[in-house]
Amino acid sequence: MIKNRHTESYDLPKNTWDEMFDQSKQVRSEYKTVMDYLDQESTDELNKKEELSKVLFMSQGITFTVYNSGEGVEKIFPFDIIPRIITSEEWEFIEKGIKQRVTALNLFLKDVYSDQFIIKDGIVPIDIIYSCPHFLREMCNVKVPHDLYIHIAGIDLIRDNDGTYYILEDNVRTPSGVSYMLENREITKRLFPDLLPQCKVRSVTEYPNILYNNLRSLSPRQVDNPTIVLLSPGSFNSAYFEHTTLARLMGIELVEGPDLIVEDHKVYMKTTGGLQQVDVIYRRVDDEYLDPLVFNANSLLGVAGLMNAYRKGNVTIVNAVGNGVADDKAVYVYVPDMIKYYLNEEPLLKNVPTYQLGNKDERAHVFENITNMVIKQTNGSGGYGMLMGHAATPEEIDAYKVEVMKDPRQFIAQPTISLSSAPCYMHGVLQPRRVDFRPFALCGPDGITIVPGGLTRVALKEGSLVVNSSQGGGSKDTWVLS
């Protein structure tokens, strides 16, 4: 018996790739089982499921903290119960594309912090590198284990109106969100019993084990039991839940800056039994706060002397320090060239066309077409400091232009890409909302592993194109079919 007709009430957006429906509003084959299931359930039952998901998130403490929110600090990361599905063919392509991109980015980091062939060969202009605030001279000629700079990468993908995947952003500093990939799956198991095995969805639970094994293999000391810690900025950080979850899942210590101390260029952790040498630090603290002696002297989050220990090779920091130069949005423009230069391959996943506002002609073009553009800071993250041209008022645009002119190098513009839409269960019906996708790549000495899944972020406001959690975004469970 069909209790619901979600298809009929769904308002398919125009000029947009929809994840569930094709142009003629037929359910795509990969969503068939899920749609059949949804059609069998009454609105009441679906509402109950939505309620259950909220209760589960709250009781498990899966919450995040927003700094500039007036209404209290602790929030549930909004979760939409309808999964986003990726077929095995699509996944195979994404996987290859990301491996290729991360390999090139890693080679770029090694190069840019040692011989700088890519600059000498004129592929990437020197001023782009040296004007990047995340290019750290402190990292030049520092040897990192296995030449690995990027251990964990979160690459953001979006889909244009013809369904092509584009790279929106590379995150190779401290990408977050992986705990939501894991927890969303646990919640889905409970919301839709038996649906996962029916659809043959691939499991994501191996992530912490793979990461742990990689971390262990990076220990500079050849010991049986290297000490691995997760360095968190503390419980006020918006991703603190993620830090605790990962530490628990890997059985490693969760520490904050004051728990560590550097002596004789070695890092030690304070324990009740005395000092214990630390071999690998999985840090969730940004570069500029890591070591007050080298970077921001006012920072209490880091450890004094850490950089010296790191440069001596007595401790491994994950991800490597100085990675920000690889995910800088002005450097992003050159990533396809890097892939050709280092790998002699055509890039599989395309970049979104990007204009550099540091370049006079491009800036003029962007300012002329500003209503069709998205302008971002090159080193920004979390959706802060963006201008969405189509939604901004003339005053906002003028104010932003003034901001840009102060230092145009720090801004880029991209034509507004409409992002694909996926159905979300809201107020008893399915409604289209815009989504992106962040799979997580883990790089170890034995190669790159991408757990089949990732975080689908969704812009919960109608028509909104901003998916960041700090800007009212939510998430969905992401199923990769086998």
């Binding site: 259950l52 198991k189 409970r190 019993p193 038996d194 996962l196 095995p197 499991s203 084990n209 059985g251």
Partner: protein, 298 residues
Amino acid sequence: MSRYVERTDGMLRMLKINYAASQDAVSDFSWSPVIRIFCGPDHGGNVNEFNSRAVLQYMVTDKNNPNSVINIITQVRENARSVQDHITKDVWQCLNEYYHTVKDPKLNNMLKKDDPISVLDILIKQGMLFYGTTEITMARNEGSSFMRIGKYLERSIQSVNILDIKFGSVDHNPDLLTNTSYWKHLLLSIGGYELYLKTYRTGFEAENVLTQVVLNNVFPRSVIYSLNQLVKYFDRLKIDGHINPGDLEFLIGRLQSKVKYSSIKGLTQDELHHYLAEIKSELYGIGNAFNQTCFSLS
């Protein structure tokens, strides 16, 4: 009574973890090991081992399965009723409530079509209430010592049983020996996963799992921990003069030493099976001796 509650607790946790694992499995997920652990080798009934819902119902609410939660808890309640003078009112009420929860037809309906983990969680919580209530309200007298002895006896039997069956499956399928998720699930289902991660840094290895579950002194589900506790409460009974130690003391002491001073490194499959079977039979022997010494009518 305590033994029964301990058994249901172990069973419910096992079901919960295995159900979650079944949702992750891309191929058919077999419940056969779980059924064998808690119902014995020949008591699978006619239940389809690949149908999670059917197995859960069989294990939780099926009255025709003598080892189902509903039947065990009914027994517990009957036992509790007959020893009301030895347990506190709170403990009795707690068990009575457990009984009514598991009998509620709504629970069975939920198990049929809603989220099974919610159902299992409700029942696990009832068991936790029992543990907490006994801890807080029961005087540390004879009754309480017997309850703990029952609890730890059952727990060690369970741990040995689980190991025997899990390692037994390796005989038929040697790939399992190096299958990390196989050992991960075993640890999760007895609540030893986080401890394992902190103790062993080298990933999931069968021998380490075995060592933790048999010989780890601080792991509350290990065989040695349970035996040590058993000895402790048996001594308390002895000191209070409630019991004539006789054979019992010999049996318990012998088993404790045997486990404590055994080396399980490098055992072959056969030797391991033999070793676990011996422990199990001695545990049953202790159970029987308790019955004869303390509860036998003749």
